[in-house]
Amino acid sequence: MSGHMDPTSRGGLTRRNLLLAGAAGLLLGSGVLLVPKRYFRMPQQTQSFVAKVAHYHLDIADAITRGIRELGVSSEELNGRRILLKPNLVETASGAPHINTHPLVLRGAIEAFLRLGAAKVMVAEGPGHRRDTLAVYEESGLADVLTEDRIKFHDLNYMTGYELPNAGRQSSMRTLTFPAIFQEVDWIVSVAKMKTHHIAGTTLSMKNLFGVMPGIYYGWPKNVLHHAGIENSILDINATLKPHFAIVDGIVGMQGDGPIMGDPKQAGVLVLGRNLAGVDATCCRIMGIDPYKVSYLERADNWLGPIGEGSIEQRGEAIASVRTNFNLIDTIPAQHGIRLT
């Protein structure tokens, strides 16, 4: 049959070239040519800001305000806007405040956004491990701060949701269901904790967004996301939700067997930025971790944001001046061999 084909009728292509092109197309389409996607991506650029903050009783609002300004966020972007701050509240344990974002970092962020013109700031979380969100809110110390500041706290675990098509397409989840309150805000800010993680390597501003997925649909501890793959889910949530800003509490972070059982680690920093992948890559370098060896960050590179050192303009403190290696546990596969050399 193919012997009847006239090569010249195909715009000068020979039959052999056509067959090769077709075969290559099939291979590409089927994913047989396993060239990492990042080689087809356009390089991106972003900025992150690092502030030295030695302890929680310093002026955190001032540090965050300075960072937001340094990152070029204009007053038009914040004037009259409704800002949702999403902390990292997972569970509480006596003597382990380093599990969760410190409440004074939330207070600082609230003050900073209001100072810069935001009309309303609220705090919302759906803890991964506990069904009793109010208990985590109370025991973490956040209730004291928000009650005093008259800021509303929203429980995302029991909030009905709206579906969006999964824009990340890394997992088999066709859609993602986000809490309805997200349709009523202008900015979503991940206010994360700087921690190592025993499954993902690190948990920073991107992984923190697991907590936005309502427990009533995703279970406790967000079973559907674990089933779909933690790394896939991190990428899918971030690609679909498109959060606007990140603040990472590294004043006292967690090292070793994070995100719950690790030890406190004073890094004395806050890290801020518009791009969550870029912020997390900067956090990794501060923690002495190679972001290219943290799988979900490597997969996010130049897609959800750049993670290369040369692609992230550092504002505030230089990374080298604040780097402090977080302990890694070599027997935990996700932490094996990820040290930044």
């Binding site: 569970e91 491990h129 069904r131 009793d132 109010l134 809110y137 009905t160 009533i216 406790w220 079973n223």
Partner: protein, 236 residues
Amino acid sequence: MSREREEAFWPTALSVLAWIGSQVHEPHCSQGVRFLLNTTGNHWKKGPDDPFGHDPSIPGWPWIDGMHSWTEPTALAVIALRATGHGDHDRVREAIRMMLDRQLPHGGWNYGNTLVFGRELHPMPESTGAALAALVCQVEQRTIARSIDYLQGEVDRLHTPISLGWGLLGLAAWDRWPSNGAALVERCVANQARYGEYDTSSLCLLFLGALAGERDMKSPLLLDLSCTQAPAVPAQ
């Protein structure tokens, strides 16, 4: 919940409990019981590289269809099945074994992980209360004594309705409703000034915990969970 999210079936056990005793809802109740008896989570044989401590092969119930079984949905299903007279069913027996396997070495339950990478995780009052309520008169007290101790040590620190409600129900099930239980409930109700109004289900849970002490009821959710009673609600 919504009809569009049928995989999130975890309220089924609560619905069964709500329908008990209502003739109008008897068909729904039976349907709910059948569903529970015919539904389980995702289970597998533990592999040598699995980092967690529990036995993932023992069937219980998940929050969401197709997921692994966890403490609270299993406890709720056990309570619902026992309350409808299916306490002797194999599924209930398996689930009790599953819950005992998930009990933390130093007492209490959490959402359902015991150890990960060799480290024992933290217990949680709401999970512990639900498990203790489900296990009443199904296991010997010595097997869960350390969990009662944990919850008794925590109860004074519970300020919120889900933790306190389940905490009181769990302790009441084992005749340990605290002498200051009423004061704890009053404090929790007053905390609405701090947290905002509680939703109806949280408030109901809290008051069930309160009633468990007032009436000196041994059984969880104020139902008579006799170990040997015949099915009050047929499964088929």
